[in-house]
Structure formats: structure tokens, C-alpha cells
């Protein structure tokens, strides 16, 4: 069914708080690195997919059009897909159907975000994502709605802050070996617990930073992939699911939309027992509790079990199921759409055994990446394998 699709090249800029490059330039840098990584040129690219989150960050209407030439979309079929924070991983699903449909042999997928343009802080842009009648007058921001969710998760399973802080410690430490990382640091559980309270129970070190950066990957069908590289990483499954806009009506303790997306991706990939058939995972971790939440949604463990796996070291880089060996959003940074694609890039390097000092101890043949976004509403999942 459909053509087989592989990732053959990856490029990534540094993730930083304030990039001097424009969004177009960041897109170009990542695209160029991806092309160079597999010895391809723009002439060999048949289609281009752009992923970038809300236009409000840049204050540019139709931001996809604005970024098109930087991303290599000049004179080519070019399309921007969009599911908020879930965009980074979704963009690979989008690239997958470009190639799997048989309409294109290759697709360049570029994700860029430049949050620093928004002054003084990008968090204020998020007020415009809320319902304009019911919620916006309350002046909500993401920190406090996720504080609600974190509270609900902790209360449901009787968790302490220490149980969750271990994720931040693991990821920020993992990121020490990532050359593009923005806020890698050898922090301890005490550091997390003593950091500034932003919206209880969310503290400064529980949350990922505001970032600028870009990532690009090149997808190709089987015949091109075999020509371009000896080590193609196959897109085995893709899934996405978008839940209702009425987030206040959901039980926030479990991300059912992530489960739906994972079921779609696993079915395509032939994965029936994710806990044992997935060898490395990159779930979305903009907050430390989200990694745990998403591990459960991805069915890598039972509901409420993820904190114990983390405490037992199962999810450490040398553990049985390494989770966010890249350092995740908590360590590498969170340029929204690009952060999701960074996770795909990490799986690419891990599965090819090219992650350098970050290389996980166990032999990995299959990995899963996941992103999440909108009003705690969308799950996007990609399963990669070699």
C-alpha cells in the first residue's frame, strides 16, 4: 500500500534564545545542511513541505508564503501543514503522503520557528489561541492551563513533584552532548524543586525555553533512497488525531488523542506491543510531566506508570527504553515546530548509530517520535525503523 518512504538526510541549526538570522535564513541553513548530509541538490527535490507554528510569533500573515524561498519552495510544489505544537512531527507525516502517494519521488520537509521576534516574550502570543468569547477575556496563558493539567495528572496518580522533576534532570543532562542544545545543564532534582514557581505546580526548570531554530529532513521513495544512502531510515507509520476544541470538557489526566494517533501509526507499522517493539522514544516534553503523560498515551507503559519507569532508570540513555536521548525540548530547546522535527532527527541519528556521545546503549531498530499541541488537543506520531 503506497510507496515505501525513507528519511535520507537531516539538517539542524543551533537552537538559541535569539537568532540573528531571519526565519528565511534559518530555513535555508537547515535545508542546506540536510541536502549536504546526503549529497543531494535542490534539483533533486520534487516537493517541499513547510512546518511553522502560529503567524503571531513573527507578526507575518501567511508566514508559509513568506518563508517559501528560504525553505527551497521556489518554483516547486510547496505546502504548509499546520497543527499547532504538533506540527513538527506532523510535517513528516505530510512529507510521507507526498511521497507515498506516488506523486513525488522526494520531499524536503523544513520546520522553522523564530519566537524571539515577539517582544518582550512569546508567551503573550498564546492568548490569541483561546476561544475569543469564553476564554480570551480571562487572559489565560499556556503556563497556567498546563499547570491545571499537571495538577490533574499528579492528583490522579498521587505523584509528588520529585517524581516528575526526574524527567527534567534526565533530559537537561542528556542534552549536554547535543551540539545544538540551548539549555543543557547538569541539574539535580533539588535544583528543579527550588527553581522559581511560575504557576504551581509548574516551576522554571519544569518547562522548556523560548527558542529560535530550524530543522530539515529529506524524504525519498525506495528507489531514490537506495541510490542516495546505504542507511535509509524508513517511515514505518504515521498517525495524527485532533480532539474537540472544548478542552475544559476532557479529563486532563490522559491524552486520548495521542493514543488515537499512536494506534494509527502502530497499525501502519505493524506494531502490536509497543512496550517491546519500540526501542527508543522521543515523546514531546515541553514540560517535564508531558514526557510521562505522552509515554502513557503512546502505550509505552500503563496509565500512571511512567514516573516509576523514570525513577527506575528504564528511560535513561543507557536504560532498557531510552526516552528523549536527545535531551528533548527541556534540554535542546523548544522552537515549536522545529522542536518536533528535532525529535525525528534524533531518531534518524540514533537508528543509524550516528548519535555520537548521545548514542543509546541498547541496539535500536525502531523508534517513535511524538508531538502535541493546540488546546491540549492534538497528537502526532511517527514510527521510524531500520
Amino acid at each position: 500500500m503506497g510507496n515505501r518512504v525513507a528519511i535520507v538526510g537531516v539538517g539542524m541549526t543551533k537552537f538559541v534564545r535569539r537568532a540573528l538570522e531571519t526565519g528565511k535564513e534559518l530555513s535555508w541553513l537547515a535545508s542546506k545542511m540536510a541536502l549536504d548530509s546526503c549529497g543531494m541538490t535542490m534539483n533533486q527535490i520534487d516537493s517541499v513541505v513547510m512546518g511553522t507554528a502560529p503567524d503571531t510569533f513573527d507578526g507575518v500573515h501567511m508566514k508559509g508564503e513568506y518563508l517559501s524561498d528560504g525553505a527551497g519552495g521556489f518554483g516547486k510544489p510547496y505546502m504548509r501543514g499546520f497543527v499547532g505544537g504538533g506540527t513538527g512531527v506532523f510535517s513528516v507525516a505530510q512529507g510521507w503522503y507526498h511521497v507515498a502517494s506516488g506523486m513525488f519521488d522526494t520531499c524536503l520537509v523544513v520546520c522553522e520557528e523564530k519566537m524571539s521576534t515577539f517582544q518582550p516574550h512569546a508567551q503573550a502570543a498564546f492568548v490569541t489561541i483561546f476561544d475569543h468569547i469564553i476564554e480570551r477575556p480571562l487572559k489565560p496563558n499556556l503556563l497556567w492551563i498546563f499547570a491545571l493539567e499537571m495538577n490533574r495528572y499528579m492528583t490522579t496518580y498521587g505523584l509528588r513533584k520529585e517524581d516528575i522533576a526526574r524527567v527534567a534532570v534526565k533530559n537537561k543532562t542528556n542534552a549536554l552532548y547535543h551540539p545544538c542544545a540551548q539549555i543543557a545543564a547538569p541539574v539535580t532534582v533539588e535544583d528543579v524543586l527550588n527553581s522559581e514557581v511560575l504557576a504551581w505546580p509548574v516551576q522554571r526548570l519544569d518547562v522548556s525555553p523560548v527558542s529560535d531554530g530550524a530543522v530539515a529532513v529529506i524524504l525519498a521513495n525506495e528507489s531514490v533512497a537506495r541510490r542516495v544512502t546505504d542507511k535509509p531510515v524508513w517511515v514505518e507509520g504515521c498517525g495524527w488525531a485532533l480532539d474537540t476544541a472544548y478542552w475544559t470538557n476532557r479529563d486532563l489526566c490522559y491524552p486520548r488523542y495521542v493514543e488515537e494517533a499512536a494506534r494509527m501509526a502502530y497499525k501502519m507499522a505493524g506494531v502490536t506491543d509497543p512496550r517491546h517493539q519500540i526501542h527508543v522514544a522521543e515523546p514531546y516534553d515541553p514540560f517535564d510531566y508531558k514526557e510521562l503523560h505522552h509515554m502513557e498515551g503512546l502505550m509505552l507503559c500503563g496509565r500512571g506508570e511512567a514516573p516509576q519507569l523514570t525513577a527506575d532508570g528504564v528511560t535513561a540513555r543507557d536504560g532498557e527504553l531510552p526516552v528523549c536521548p536527545s535531551g528533548g525540548l527541556l534540554g535542546v530547546g523548544n522552537p515549536i515546530a522545529a522542536a518536533g522535527l528535532m525529535k525525528i532527527a534524533e531518531l534518524f541519528w540514533q537508528l543509524r548509530g550516528e548519535a555520537g556521545k548521545r548514542q543509546i546503549a541498547r541496539k535500536a531498530k525502531r523508534g517513535v517520535a511524538q508531538a502535541w499541541g493546540d488546546l491540549m488537543q492534538v497528537g502526532t506520531v511517527v514510527v521510524l525503523g531500520v
Partner: protein, 383 residues
């Protein structure tokens, strides 16, 4: 070889300049209910994937896809947005269906233009923030410059552009959903308000509210449904230079490239004689002429004359924008292309009522994303 893709259901609201009685969600719901009834499907159980085409700034909401699933019956299902014209959404659904992983797909696009207090300010935000925006160029001013260039290079007269508006707005008089129908004559242009000469207010498609939903299916799934399928034979799309200063202002090459892609899939070698009718972008009068040339449907020397002589009229040899186009139906932002697509499917089904053409077996539909973009999508259809 992939299965053929069919249009199996269409639904649209009326297109109106103001719709104070309904929200954008209710507009979408209205169109969706009609499309699902037309296809005879239940969206909760029989649709595999949903696509909405929308831009955040137009909606006044960031990450607009948040507010889409409920009114389409897509909650907790495969749903995403494309920031493109509705025809980009059709192309997306075609790709998804051709993977063999999906049997049915729904594409939605809508406009609630009457909610926008400052459409000119929003459009200005689409210009390059460093090099162009400081010049404070209004979109219509840019279109006026382009119109000048296109007309000067191709010998197109003022009257030939006016004839496009006269034709399209009068075509819309018999399109029951159209929102900008009018019986104009060339004389009316003598008194038209200048906007950015040679562009006048009568050359510009005026905004309306409305929504369109289209249901697509693979051939095997289409055969299970009761309706008469219309076949989607080709889909092409392309971007040119996003920068005003580095593009050809006379000939939009990106339209030619997108058409080439669609024609290749549909096996079209002689577009001028292949299509029974065309529905092309006419956001501005001159754009219809420019797009007809770029699509290979007319040559620069006869495109204006053809329009003037009525060859592109409803009873002409090669009808263009029988629906009324954006000038006659109203400009619907990301839904503009899908509105024309809806009317083209009606024609191919033989269900276009007073608009019906005697011969309508093949059609081409094209969309352009407006100033300052160089972004287009082209779809070819066959009965």
C-alpha cells in the same frame, strides 16, 4: 497504479456580504451537513481524513485548527489544516487517498470576511517585514502596478479587463449561492472609482461570507456510495518568488508550472481544446486574463479579444467562470478556489440549473492566494 479519485459529495452555504445571524462554526456546519447528505455518509464513521484550509490572521485566532473538528464531525479523528487555498486542500486529500491508507476524505474552506475590521492591515502583514512593509503598500496598489505591467506587455485594453467583470457578475445572476451578482455594462466603468489606476473598484472582487465542504473518495469507495462521481484527473500546485521585487509581473510562471503538473497527470496535451469550461482565479479582472494565458488556455494576443467578443461567456465557445467567479460570487479568501470547484462539480454532474452548460464533460479549476503571494493550485476534473 493508484486508484482513481472521485468527488462524491458537495455542500455549500449561500455566499453573503454579511451573515450576522451565524458564526463561522455554523457556516461550516451548514456546508458540512449538506455535503455529507449529498454523499450519503456519516462523518463519524465513514470519513477517514479531514482537511481544512485557513490562515490564522484571517480567522483572528492563532492555531486555528483547534476550532475546526467539532462542527465537521471530526473530533478525535485524523484532521489537520493547510494554510492554502481550498484547492491546496483538495490536492492534499488526493495525496492522502492515493497512499491507499484512506478511503474517504473531507476538505473544508470558509470565509467569515465580515468579521474582519481591518482587512487591508491584515493583508499588509503578509508583506516582507524588512524590505516591503515599511513602504506601506496597499495590496490593491500592488495589484494596480501588476495590472499596468500585464496590460502594457500584452496589449490588453481597459475595456477588455472591464468585460471580465461584466461577464462574471452577470453570470452570477443565475447562480443561486452567489453574493456579488450584478448586471453591469462597460459604461459603468466610466464612473468606477479609481483605486490604483488602471485598477478601479469594479475590478476588485468584494468579500463575502460562506463555507464549502467537499467529500472525496477512492474509486472503490465511490462505487459503494449512491451519488454520481465526478473524477479528479489532475492536481498541481506551485510557488513562485514570495518577493515582489524578484518576480515576473507580467507572466506568473508558477501557474504554468502547476498546470503542467496537473496536465501531466490528466494526460492533457492541448489544454486550449481539451477543457469544456474553466473556472480560474479572478480576484482582479486582469487576473482572469493573466491566468488564462499562464494556464495555456489562451494566447496573450487573443485573450482580451476573446473576452470582449463573448467567446468566454456562458454561451461562448470556451466558457470561463460560468459560476460568476470571485467577482460574481464574492471573494472568500482561502475558500475562493473551493467555491469555483463546487460550481464546476455541479456543472459536470449536470446539476447546475440555470447555469448549466450544454457540454460539460471536462473542467479546469485554478486558485491564486492573492497579493502578495505567488502561490497557486490547479485541479482538473472529468464527468
Amino acid at each position: 497504479m493508484s486508484e482513481r479519485i472521485a468527488v462524491v459529495g458537495i455542500g455549500a452555504t449561500q455566499f453573503r456580504t454579511i451573515t450576522p445571524d451565524v458564526s463561522y462554526k455554523e457556516l461550516m456546519f451548514d456546508a458540512a451537513v449538506r455535503a455529507y447528505a449529498d454523499a450519503g455518509i456519516n462523518p463519524r464513521t465513514e470519513v477517514d481524513t479531514f482537511v481544512t484550509c485557513a490562515e490564522d490572521y484571517i480567522e483572528g485566532t492563532s492555531i486555528f485548527d483547534e476550532y475546526v473538528p467539532d462542527q465537521l464531525g471530526a473530533a478525535l479523528r485524523q484532521m489537520h489544516t493547510i494554510t492554502g487555498d481550498g484547492l491546496h486542500g483538495i490536492a492534499t486529500a488526493v495525496m492522502q487517498l492515493r497512499t491507499g491508507r484512506f478511503g474517504t476524505a473531507v476538505v473544508e474552506a470558509h470565509s467569515k470576511a465580515s468579521n474582519m475590521l481591518t482587512p487591508d492591515g491584515i493583508a499588509a502583514c503578509a508583506q516582507d517585514p524588512v524590505t516591503v512593509r515599511p513602504l506601506c503598500l496597499n495590496s490593491n496598489f500592488i495589484a494596480g502596478l501588476e495590472m499596468n505591467r500585464f496590460c502594457a506587455e500584452n496589449g490588453i485594453t481597459r475595456d477588455q479587463c472591464s468585460a471580465v467583470a461584466v461577464k462574471n457578475r452577470s453570470n452570477a445572476l443565475v447562480n443561486p449561492i452567489a453574493g456579488q451578482a450584478a448586471g453591469l455594462s462597460l459604461d459603468d466603468f466610466k464612473y468606477a472609482k479609481p483605486v490604483s489606476l488602471p485598477l478601479t473598484d469594479l475590478d476588485i472582487a468584494q468579500p463575502v461570507d460562506g463555507a464549502i465542504v467537499i467529500v472525496l473518495a477512492t474509486e472503490s469507495k465511490a462505487k459503494e456510495l449512491r451519488g454520481k462521481p465526478v473524477w479528479l484527473t489532475g492536481a498541481g500546485w506551485c510557488n513562485g518568488s514570495p518577493n515582489l521585487e524578484t518576480r515576473d509581473w507580467s507572466a506568473p510562471e508558477y501557474v504554468t508550472k502547476a498546470a503542467k503538473m496537473a496536465y501531466g497527470q490528466a494526460g492533457v496535451t492541448d489544454p486550449r481544446h481539451y477543457f469544456d469550461f474553466a473556472e480560474v482565479d479572478d480576484t482582479y479582472t486582469y487576473k482572469e486574463l493573466q491566468h488564462l494565458v499562464a494556464l495555456g488556455l489562451a494566447s496573450p494576443c487573443d485573450v482580451g479579444l476573446n473576452t470582449e467578443q463573448g467567446k468566454t461567456a456562458r454561451n461562448g465557445k470556451r466558457p470561463v467562470n460560468v459560476s460568476g467567479g470571485a467577482l460574481g460570487m464574492g471573494y472568500m479568501y482561502e475558500a475562493s478556489g473551493l467555491a469555483r470547484f463546487y460550481c464546476a462539480v455541479q456543472q459536470l454532474r449536470g446539476e447546475a440549473g440555470a447555469m448549466q452548460l450544454p457540454k460539460a464533460k471536462t473542467a479546469i479549476v485554478q486558485a491564486w492566494r492573492g497579493v502578495p503571494t505567488a502561490s497557486t493550485a490547479v485541479i482538473t476534473l472529468a464527468a
